[in-house]
């Protein structure tokens, strides 16, 4: 079963990229990076994703078949909408801070903003981004009705999907036009925030 989870992660990792890359790419590019910072932030992002997977795996495993009745499409959509709204708000906050650092609101954000910590939160939220392979893994786990089993299954699933995120550790290697990349990524963070919050979150909930 663990091997199956690993294979599921490896085979469906491209779908995970579809769900996670739109958040991870602009967020990581918007910070100036050195090798050490890139490594720490990347690991924290991974740790966040792992935490998201393990929490969900444990809950699904513990609740077992009970959750099956709740995983109807309407609930999935509602959960996704909330996740999008939260991610959107966080992205808007960081986007505003990057692009309009002199605003009073932004100076307040800056005080509580620490990129490494936010990388962890983004990792956690992208881990819970409810993409199709994530639900496939969840469907297997709630059949098992066992927390430990659920955690192990999602751990293997995480390892399989993580292969596709390794390029995140190479962002510091981009030296040519790095300033322009950063400028563009900071605008993208804000645009993505508005898109997640309004278009995917609020408008879908209407």
């Amino acid at each position: 079963m663990i091997f199956e989870a690993l294979l599921l992660g490896l085979s469906s990792g491209t779908y995970c990229i579809i769900g996670c890359a739109p958040i991870a790419i602009p967020v990581f590019f918007s910070e100036s990076m050195n090798r050490k910072k890139n490594l720490i932030s990347g690991l924290l992002f991974f740790a966040g994703r792992l935490a998201g997977y393990l929490i969900f795996g444990a809950v699904m495993g513990a609740l077992g078949a009970f959750t099956a009745s709740y995983l109807d499409p309407a609930l999935k959509r509602t959960l996704s909408n909330y996740a999008y709204i939260i991610v959107g708000l966080l992205l808007i906050a960081s986007g505003l801070m990057y692009n309009f650092p002199r605003l009073k609101f932004c100076t307040k954000i800056k005080k509580i903003y620490k990129f490494e910590a936010w990388a962890l939160i983004y990792g956690l939220l992208t881990g819970l981004s409810f993409c199709p392979p994530f639900f496939a893994a969840a469907a297997r786990v709630y059949g098992g009705a066992d927390s430990i089993n659920g955690i192990l299954y999602f751990l293997a699933f995480f390892l399989g999907t993580s292969l596709y995120f390794l390029p995140l550790f190479g962002i510091h290697l981009i030296k040519k036009h790095a300033q322009n990349f950063m400028l563009i990524a900071r605008i993208v963070v804000l645009l993505m925030g508005v898109y997640f919050f309004l278009f995917l979150g609020i408008f879908n909930a209407l």
Binding site: I18, N180, I187, V188, L191, M192
Partner: protein, 428 residues
């Protein structure tokens, strides 16, 4: 008389000789005949034939004037704006004739009957790589605006013109290009050094590509495209579609009309069009570039203020760099502004070969009798002109723009004459 003399006023820095102009115009006339006139001559409908002749004369005359006068920016703009203005009436009429209305219903989308628009190209690539599906609801083959047909033209245009697509070929770009050229001086000055404005288009590109990837829909078309207003608008049936419609109105009037008018900058193309930024990234593949001759340049900085896409800045000119920023659309506005003729078209890949073979031939002629020398010199000069990057770039970009125009321009002219004569813009 004064107007005619203005029309024919030649720019010594960029004009071609009459011999080269005539040769290239004859070649262009053959191209235009094939794409715009050929089928209409076989048509029994006299109005269709007249429409074909109008397009033929218009396109050949503008091309002749472009080369003869050397006023690249002026005649390119006439050609480019005409393309934009002739596109939407034919498109809307086609929508009414095919669907009975100017919007696409759910059924139309399921049947993949939308016309493929080149702007969505960067948005369909990644979803295709990951899911093996094309997320735009158009036919793969079997129509002029099919995915296959448009991608072939785009690929050709990218290899030849690169970012020049945005000033010579795109049938939307003529809107903000034309409007940005209306006023003589801007009401609102945009700082050419402003990097946020210059690179905003790239942020838009990254944003719409990533957003399309996460939703597997062409989100730019669904929510943002300013040209929805003049092509296939969204039918307002609920709050969501009302919001989308409001965004289309705002982006069209804001980015395509108001901002270009008051700033003289091509705001929609520069900051909002994801395809424009995509073409900038692919410009390295193209055969031609705009180059600055740093030896001729006197650093007067006049070129900086006229560039409609912030492709020239103090960093480039005072830093004695030979290449403009990647937002350069090869429109030729800076050629006109440069009194020294220091800016012009160049080949992208033959810069190393500085030795000009034509100069060598001319120098070898020194000992020949005067008449032979004169004739050979003239021939060599003409061949040199015909094979210059300026002639080749203009000829190929104009040809590609003209081919795109053939899909709709004659139809609009035909319909307009039909409206005047028979009182109907629609054929059915």
């Amino acid at each position: 008389m004064q107007a005619l003399s203005n029309l024919l006023k030649r720019d010594p820095r960029t004009k071609l000789s009459i011999t080269s102009t005539v040769i290239l115009t004859v070649l262009m006339a053959l191209n235009v005949h094939f794409f715009h006139l050929g089928s209409s001559l076989q048509d029994k409908d006299i109005i269709s034939t007249i429409a074909g002749w109008i397009m033929f004369l218009f396109l050949v005359t503008v091309f002749f004037l472009l080369l003869y006068t050397g006023n690249i920016s002026k005649y390119r703009r006439i050609f480019f704006v005409a393309s934009a203005l002739l596109f939407f009436p034919a498109f809307i009429a086609g929508m009414y004739e095919t669907f009975g209305h100017m919007y696409l219903t759910e059924e139309n989308l399921i049947e993949n009957t939308a016309s493929y628009c080149h702007i969505v190209t960067p948005m369909v690539i990644l979803p295709y790589v990951f899911t093996k599906t094309i997320i735009f609801p158009a036919r793969i083959f079997s129509s002029a605006a099919s995915i296959y047909g448009m991608l072939i033209i785009w690929l050709l245009a990218t290899l030849v013109s690169g970012k020049g697509f945005c000033s010579w070929i795109c049938f939307y770009g003529g809107w903000d290009d034309g409007i940005s050229g209306i006023r003589k001086k801007p009401l609102l000055k945009i700082d050419p050094e402003n990097k946020k404005i210059r690179y905003f288009g790239f942020a838009m590109l990254a944003f719409v590509v990533l957003a399309s990837l996460i939703t597997l829909t062409v989100m730019y078309c669904e929510w943002l495209c300013p040209f929805k207003l003049i092509t296939e608008y969204t039918q307002v049936i609920n709050l969501k579609s009302f919001i989308a419609f409001a965004i289309f109105v705002l982006t069209f009037f804001g980015l395509v009309v108001v901002l270009p008018l008051i700033t003289k900058k091509r705001f929609q193309c520069l900051t909002f069009c994801p395809f424009g930024a995509f073409q900038s990234l692919l410009d390295k593949l193209s055969l031609y570039r705009v180059r600055i001759d740093t030896e001729k340049c006197t650093q007067c900085l006049r070129c900086i203020s006229v560039c409609p896409t912030l492709a020239l800045s103090k960093e480039i000119i005072l830093g004695k760099k030979t290449k403009p920023h990647i937002t350069c659309t090869k429109c030729g506005e800076c050629f006109k502004a440069c009194s020294q003729g220091a800016i012009g078209y160049a080949f992208a890949h033959f810069e190393k070969y500085k030795k000009n073979p034509f100069e060598k031939i001319i120098s070898k002629l020194e000992n020949h009798p005067t008449l032979i020398k004169k004739i050979v010199k003239k021939i060599v000069f003409t061949v040199k002109e015909l094979l210059s990057p300026q002639s080749l770039f203009i000829f190929s970009s104009y040809t590609l723009g003209m081919i795109i125009m053939s899909a709709f321009a004659r139809s609009t002219v035909h319909r307009t004459i039909n409206l005047i004569v028979n009182g109907s813009f629609l054929f059915q």
